[in-house]
């Protein structure tokens, strides 16, 4: 189900752990949904990400995407790091199963949250253009914490391929 690259980045995670001299920390996700990602950044005066670490509670895909995004943004100016989106992460991992795509969104949001924290610490207020609360958008609100709406369970009716074509 997972690509070799996902397995590699899960089994041998890059940049896992805490960063003691971090000057920005972002935490996204919700333990209810089974994914929480914490990103530690050390950003220098030139606004380049000098060092990065992650701590993730989650499945193999969540750990692999955390692992991959830390590698992708390390050494980059923050403006460039913010351009990396979830699709780039999923692509770099050789693809993710559809049910796990939310993990790559979590990785992107983790970086955004950490960078927002950097500006907040610098200016004392939440920067414009960043989401104030990134808790649980990745799951699409299915945990009931986010903006997602509950929906009535639909009766599942099997329709064969031919029927679908005929409609």
């Amino acid at each position: 189900m997972y690509s070799d690259k996902v397995v590699d980045y899960f089994m041998n995670p890059r940049n896992a752990g805490k960063l003691d001299d971090a000057n920005a920390i972002g935490e996204v996700g919700n333990p209810k949904c089974g994914d929480v990602m914490k990103i530690y950044l050390k950003i220098n005066d030139q606004e380049i990400i000098e060092d990065i670490k992650f701590e993730t509670f989650g499945c193999a895909a969540a750990i692999a995407t955390s692992s991959m995004i830390t590698e992708m943004v390390k050494g980059k100016p923050i403006a460039e790091a913010l351009k990396i989106n979830n699709k780039d992460v999923a692509e770099a991992l050789g693809g993710l199963p559809p049910a796990k795509l939310h993990c790559s969104l979590l990785a992107q949001e983790g970086i955004e949250a950490a960078v927002a924290d950097y500006f907040k610490r610098k200016t004392g207020k939440h920067p414009e253009g960043f989401k104030a609360n990134t808790t649980c958008t990745a799951c699409g609100g299915s945990c009931g914490e986010g903006a997602g709406q509950g929906h009535e369970e639909e009766e599942e009716i099997f329709v064969s391929e031919d029927h679908r074509a005929a409609e």
Partner: protein
């Protein structure tokens, strides 16, 4: 040296026993007759089906004619629930079940709920036990059926089916139990138990997949789910799966022998060695389900601060096959409803691991798991934002 392979997901399915396979093989291309045919080929196949029925009945202290063969456990559950609902629709339309049933049960009951029936889902305590008093309180004048599983697949808890069945009997309500996980692993004598219907599946007791049975006590009226040629006393049409039934019969006979000669006791010893060993070696682990009233082969735990899928995959890489009820293994974001029913919080439930032994599991297998598992937890915890020691 080939790396060690230890399959410990026997609640999912078991390896077909060699004797079972041997019993099945002739019925593919030698004794290939249709059991419904009158000629010699047909008669030979009929003998095979009759023998299997006797063997399966023998495992649970039933009469052969009380055994309805089906295409597996889910189908047997459907037959019991829908079959009763249809047969008794003029008597009442209320069904009672529990919150930790298999989907084959819960989804069937919920479907009936959208089609003119009502249902009550009983809660469980923190060990996964259904309280007979709560069952009694839920019974209404129009209750026709209650169904509570014999033992749970995810947490191993064995339900008080004798007491639950007794309550039903007192109130004239039929009692069905899903015995898929228990049959062949726990001594069951239906002569002494107030159980009206019980589901079984061959592949959970070293038999083939796609074969199951519903025990139906004499005198109970069901409407079939599958209509047709009238096989299985009119309750399950379709040409009998003779090789599958030959295998099911043999699997049931072998299971009855294991239960009689105390082999199960060794499984319990190994299970306890595994549970105790994991609790000793890994801090902050909780056992899910009942400590003693549990399936002999079943160990299930929640490991705090880590997610189940990661553990599953790292154990797999070490040659150990287990399962998890975490969200990530189910394709949704919700952890198992069974674990949530116990009152566990979401993040604890996400850290579930189920390890289920087989009759062939030995001390070396358990030692191997106890050696490999703790460092895997350590590795994942070292990356966890929740683990305070980081």
């Amino acid at each position: 040296m080939t790396p060690r392979k230890v399959y410990l997901d026997n609640s999912a399915t078991t390896q077909v026993d060699k004797k079972v396979l041997e019993a099945m093989l002739p019925y593919f291309s030698e004794e290939y007759g249709n059991p419904n045919s009158l000629h010699a080929w047909g008669r030979d196949a009929r003998k095979c089906v009759d023998k299997a029925r006797t063997q399966v009945a023998g495992l649970i202290g039933a009469e052969p004619k009380d055994i309805i063969f089906t295409g597996g456990g889910s189908e047997a559950d459907n037959l019991a629930i829908k079959g009763t609902a249809w047969a008794l629709k003029d008597k009442g339309r209320h069904i009672i079940t529990s919150s930790i049933e298999h989907h084959a049960l819960l989804d069937t009951v919920r479907w009936l709920g959208k089609n003119g029936y009502e249902y009550t889902i009983l809660p469980v305590d923190k060990t996964g036990m259904v309280d007979p008093k709560e069952l009694e309180a839920a019974i209404r004048p129009d209750t026709i059926l209650a169904s509570v599983m014999f033992a749970n697949n995810e947490i191993g808890t064995i339900e008080p089916v004798a007491e639950l069945g007794e309550v039903c009997r007192r109130h004239g309500v039929l009692f069905h139990t899903d015995g898929v996980q228990a049959a062949g692993h726990v001594k069951i004598d239906l002569k002494d138990l107030p159980i009206d219907m019980m589901t079984m599946a061959a592949h959970k007791m070293y038999g083939p997949k796609g074969v199951g049975a519903l025990y139906v006590r004499k005198g109970i009226k069901l409407i079939p789910v599958i209509h047709g040629g009238g096989q299985e006393f009119g309750l399950r049409s379709g040409t009998e799966n003779t090789p599958g039934l030959a295998g099911f019969g043999m699997a049931a006979e072998l299971a009855a022998n294991r239960l009689a000669n105390g082999e199960i006791d060794n499984e319990i010893r190994l299970r306890d060695k595994l549970i105790d060993g994991l609790m000793e070696r890994i801090p902050e682990v909780i056992l899910t389900g009942h400590r003693t009233k549990r399936l002999p082969y079943h160990a299930s735990i929640c490991v705090k601060y880590v997610e189940g899928e990661g553990m599953l995959l790292l154990l797999d890489a070490a040659g150990i096959g287990v399962s998890s009820g975490s969200a990530c293994t189910s394709g949704s974001l919700e952890p198992s409803y069974v674990l949530l029913s116990l009152g566990l919080d979401h993040s604890t439930a996400h850290g579930s691991v189920r390890i289920t032994l087989s009759k062939d599991t030995n001390d070396e297998d358990i030692d191997y798991v106890l050696e490999k598992f703790p460092p895997i937890v350590e590795k994942l915890r070292s990356m966890s934002p929740f683990y305070k020691n980081n």
